[in-house]
Symmetry: C2
Subunit: 188 residues, 2 copies
DNA sequence: CCATTAACGCAAAATATTAGCATTAACGGA
DNA sequence: TCCGTTAATGCTAATATTTTGCGTTAATGG
């Protein structure tokens, strides 16, 4: 499901959406990125360009939509027995994914969207993970900081490094961020 | 100075650059943003569109270049006598600037650039401020964390909120970030 | 002052985008 | 199931944009 919430969920719209997303993924794998264009994607998907323009607006929005759908968290993050461990395990996998070339490209596409709500969506994906991990910690009777504290102390520097200074987005730093955030959970 | 480093610094190039930047600023103030186009900017600046395409590539890159030039730090941040005070004072002004409509637009433009080096440039602007504030603290014999710690503990959540959750980019939170970062400066 | 060449202007060609109107098919109720 | 309504698409023509080739200008370095 994309962010396009006001459309008919029925057969045809869904098929077009699926075909267009698939076309983008196929072309990304076979063509140099700068050669991707709306008319080319439309031809590959078997739809007319005007359909894409009407539904997505322009190429940047379409690319952001596709990238966001790839970013969406799939399953539950692994349970390691402690909050610190869960954060480290999930974070390492996230760093790997987003530090890779396709991951960086996806981040790029999402940030290039003119629509701030798409970035907010990205925020909420990460937030929902933190909510899940905190709930798990509470189930174990483990004390845990507020979700906002985790966002500022861990998600923020991680994302910031990935976007602005990818070389600085390392596992060692992740460990430091987790330690500092869980060690001083007194923020309010 | 733009990121275009390989060009002749002499009269004509500089004049074109100045005229184009000025045209963008003028149009931003008078026209709805979605009506800005390369041909329009070119006409306003009195140059041909191909000149803009050749020098900047496309509209997104041009806008990012103009926005980045506005973001560049101008003077020294105010000296309040303590590192915490300096961080708070500078941060509040930064939050005001980037939280405003033009500031959000500028951030948007910079992030929309396909060129990661422009984002890295944005990173270095903030870093240079932190370097200056830490040096000042040392001059006062005040202890201060590493610059990287300030980047992760203060700049990162501030920027993250501004980009993903502007409503959460508040002065109160800034105070919390500064307290947590200076209170536990033990990260390495 | 001259030679070299980066940057620009101009105009034609190629592409991409928008807009109007006809058609299809999803949805909801009888 | 069938029918009316309307969102979504297809098609085509009209616009707008971006690219390209080539001649010209002017900055740079002797």
């Amino acid at each position: 499901m994309t962010e396009n919430t006001g459309l008919r969920p029925g057969g045809r719209s869904a098929r077009v959406q699926q075909a267009v997303h698939q076309a983008v993924k196929t072309l990304e794998a076979t063509e140099p990125r700068e050669s991707l264009s709306v008319p080319l994607i439309a031809a590959t998907a078997g739809v007319t360009p005007s359909t894409i323009y009407r539904r997505w607006g322009d190429l940047a929005e379409l690319m952001a939509d596709v990238s966001l759908s790839r970013l969406r968290p799939e399953g539950e993050p692994p349970d390691t027995g402690t909050l610190a461990g869960d954060l480290q395990a999930w974070g390492e996998q996230y760093l790997d994914e987003m530090g890779s070339a396709p991951g960086q490209q996806a981040l790029n596409d999402i940030m290039a969207s003119a629509d701030p709500s798409r970035r907010a969506c990205c925020y909420r994906y990460n937030e929902s993970i933190m909510v899940a991990l905190v709930a798990r910690a509470h189930d174990r009777q483990e004390s845990a900081p507020e979700v906002a504290t985790l966002m500022d102390g861990i998600i923020a520097p991680m994302t910031y490094r990935l976007l602005y200074d990818p070389a600085g987005a390392t596992r060692d730093r992740l460990t430091i961020w987790i330690g500092a955030t869980l060690g001083a959970p007194a923020s309010r």
